[in-house]
Amino acid sequence: MRKPISLRWRLLVPLIITAIITSALLYFTMRQVTKQAVQATQEALLEKAVTSILEQTRFTENNVEIDLPYNIFTMLGAISEDKVYYRVDLDGLFLTGYEDLRLKNLTVDNEYIFFSSTIFRGVKLRQATVQQLFLVNGKSRLIQITVAQTQLFQEAILRDMSRNAGVIGISFFGFALLVALLATRSFLRPINSLAGTVSRRGAHDLRPVKGPTPPELMPLVLSLNGFISRLTGTLRQTETFIAEAAHHIRTPLSLVKSESQLALRKSKSSENRKHLHNIIESVDMSIRSAGQLLDHALVLYRSEKIDEKRLDLAVVVQHVADNLQPAADLKDIIIKTEIINNGDIFVMADRVLLEVALRNMLDNAIKYSNPDQLIFVKMVLDQNFVRIIVLDNGRGIKGVKTKGIHKRFKRGSNVDDVIGSGLGLAIISEICIILGGSFILKNNKGVGACAILQLPVC
């Protein structure tokens, strides 16, 4: 495929071509006008010369007196230093001047001055010719006068003129080029500013693009806004879908779980209880899987529509810990939170995602802890980062291959006896990427595991 031509060039090239053509036209027009002006001047002088000679022509009885006007000749030469030639004919016979100067054949009744160009001794000449009939003693006599001049001056003027016109033309071209560049820039400015407006937006800012826009850009803005609204619609649909899915999955599971727990409690038969155990176990597994799948969908959705705010980390952590404490209580587990460094820690993050990550970390810690144990949640500020460390005293991940543990549906090798979907760590890792942090799961120094979520502070 051909590389698309940039808008700048699309604009510049016609403008430059126009400038070149205009400059050239300017150049040739100036040349032409000058040429005509110089020629007109020369012809005026030549005309003056031939008419002067004609006026001074006197016929005597047998003779004709020709007086060449000195001043006119001086003038002819004065403005131009061009060479001057002349020829006077009487009754079609050469009388005086340059015999090799060719005379234009004029009809007898021609009374005005005739201009022509000719080549004389290898040089181009402009010549004026006039003729008149005189009646002398009843005899008509025809006098023909031609004065010619080289056009070296005209050429010199044209040369000068061409140089000046060239300079003007080039200057004009330069100026036009400058104007073209500026015009291109000003033309592209609305596009750039539109691009700037759109790119400066936050990810969740799906308001339509507004503000003054040149009418020519309106189609772009309209289609952009159309796209934004479709995107908004899609995201809203996704959100609704996740919510609906959650409701439709979780409500029946709740019922199953509640009912089977009831049944278990009422059951007297150990055989039935065994069956119920199995049911509850698989329901729990379904619940966890469903929960994490929904969490995962939520993460994907939020990452499209991230809503970053400045959050007080301690408040968020405490909130999650508080909410999970009743669940931990059931195993007589206590969650302790502490901020190692003094002072507030703020992070720029999407609260929903941060809480999902923390909840999953704590959930894991509770799940793999033994009864009557402590879970520590520590927040350590280290320069531009804060590490949220969740320490438990559970079985840890000793001897477990940690590679791939963050992948979806991949679980550690020592947790087959604990219900889980394998999505928990994957969710945490993905959230980490979105929040610009990192996640590490490792063995604690003593016993248990140590989950570290590192986030940039603000």
């Binding site: 959650a246 029946p252 019922l255 329901v283 604990v418």
Partner: protein
Amino acid sequence: MKILIVEDTKKLAQSLADHFDLAGHSSSIAGTVEAANELVLLTHYDIMLLDIMLPDGNGHTFLRSLRLQKIAVPVIVMTARSEISDRIDLLDIGADDYIIKPFDIAELEARCRAVLRRHGGGGYTNIMLGNIELSPLTAELRTPAENFKLRNRELRLLEIFMNAPNILFTKEQLTDRLFNISESVNENTIEVYIARIRKKLIGCNMRIETLRGIGYRLTETFLPK
């Protein structure tokens, strides 16, 4: 305690009600916002379990209108949504706690207790048997000799016995009530907790009796004066 369950899935609501009834509480069920509103205005409830998605309205709006009417009944929201932003809003508009469906009934009970504890103990009555008194809300066990603060599982175990004195509970039954199925504990683990309680009951006229091979029961002993 009196519990109002606002849940449009009738079977789930009934199932929850059955659990609370078994534990000795009384519960009402409302399937719509309208019904719930009527019940709240008519009767005093110690706690309300509120579903968010209801056929005739949204739990948010209902909760907000309750708080506007200065009805201060403690509310635990049961939500199927996992968006925590939702839950944060709920806390802001006056919910006391939230629990994500599906949940363990034990966790729900624990949250109820926690909420009631924060609200000053309404609804839960202390259980008195012989010369011991158990406060399920505060997990306090008062014996003539000493006041004990019980751990969660100790409390739940003793509560089972004190709610049904002289009733025999098999080890399996107790294990099921006390432990999560997924914990997969050894049946002998229950003995650890029985032992802990027995230690605290020394000198009292209530004791946990072992029926070898069958189970345990709480009985009154008549000690010589």
